[in-house]
Symmetry: C2
Subunit: 210 residues, 2 copies
């Protein structure tokens, strides 16, 4: 059974168990999808309203992008679990001779890179989703302003959580060029994305305190 | 169909739609349950391990509390939706005469208080869950340290999101004593809880950068 087909209770129970998947990566992807879905809800509560007619095209554009992001993040839940399997197997390889140890190291290295793939995507996609909330906080219906805040907080958590799962993998990767490349592209997104998320949240707080 | 019985895709789709529930409150509750479940996973990966034998009793205690918190947060998803119904109805009450307007105002006031109940609980429960992560970051298996980080980030999002749903409701409540009481008890938890969550995350970062 695909993880994404589990109901909320089942997913939370599977997460709580000691089994390797779902773990932090799958959790991050689902929390990101939940965050983006709140953005879609805000779009759906804004579109067609006279008061926001000037933003109609932008809102429709955000809604379309958001739908794609939700789908991608939901798919990442099972992709992350699948990508973890080779790593799980690699750790179990018995290696006694020098040759066997070298071979195991090579298999591990590839498996670690594969396990990093989805977390890297989670960071990139959560960043894109936060950018959409940056537009929504100004152009979405004021009646749903708290949902923009919840959405962006969930995505902030998904962004940072994706990065934690990148780090836990690349910490064991020996290919320094790969490690540096991944670090460079994800760290920038995490720093900038967290900053934008906090700014969006501050705007939400300001509107709510009026 | 109960919201908690929807699978991940269905829940995200229902959230994205313009229907009133699930909304930010239900999303916050689910994200909180996901966060606490990662804490449980860390406990399950720690218990029985020789290296952490000195923490065995504490870990078992955290695991028991965590299980209760997950269950409560999952229940809050549907409780929040149910508590929103009277408010949704109250907004629709037609009121033309002064007497009708007064009556509507009274019904609205009660409905707003009812709609605040679950968000207040989400704040309190997420705070408790963050406190458990404060113990876990020191006593849980180092192999699962990134999951402590993901868990606490999800709970930080749930805490703040719960509070946003408190504010959106109490902003319309006229009973100033009630409003002040709720503000006082939740704001303190949000400020303190966010601070603890950030400290826990910092510790995770430090361990991962060693």
């Amino acid at each position: 059974m695909k993880l994404v087909n589990k109901n909320c209770t089942e997913f939370v129970e599977a997460l709580a168990s000691k089994s390797a998947v779902p773990g932090g990566g799958g959790a991050a992807a689902l929390v990101g999808a939940i965050g983006m879905a709140l953005g879609s809800m805000v779009c759906n509560l804004t579109t067609g309203k006279k008061k926001y007619a000037q933003y109609e095209e932008t809102i429709k554009d955000i809604l379309e992008k958001a739908g794609r992001i939700e789908k991608e993040l939901l798919e990442m839940i099972d992709d992350d679990a699948e990508n973890f399997l080779p790593l799980s197997k690699a750790y179990g390889i018995k290696a006694n001779t020098e040759e066997e140890k070298k071979k195991k190291e090579k298999v591990l290295e590839e498996a670690l890179k594969q396990a990093s793939e989805v977390p890297i995507k989670i960071v990139k996609t959560s960043y894109d989703a936060i950018k959409l909330h940056e537009e929504l906080v100004d152009k979405g219906s004021r009646l749903a302003i708290s949902d923009v805040g919840v959405g962006v907080q969930c995505l902030r958590a998904a962004l940072i959580s994706g990065q934690l799962n990148v780090i836990i993998n690349i910490n064991s990767i020996k290919d320094i060029d790969y490690v540096n490349k991944v670090k460079e592209e994800t760290e920038k997104l995490v720093v900038e994305g967290t900053k934008i998320a906090d700014e969006v949240y501050k705007k939400v707080e300001e509107v709510l305190s009026k």
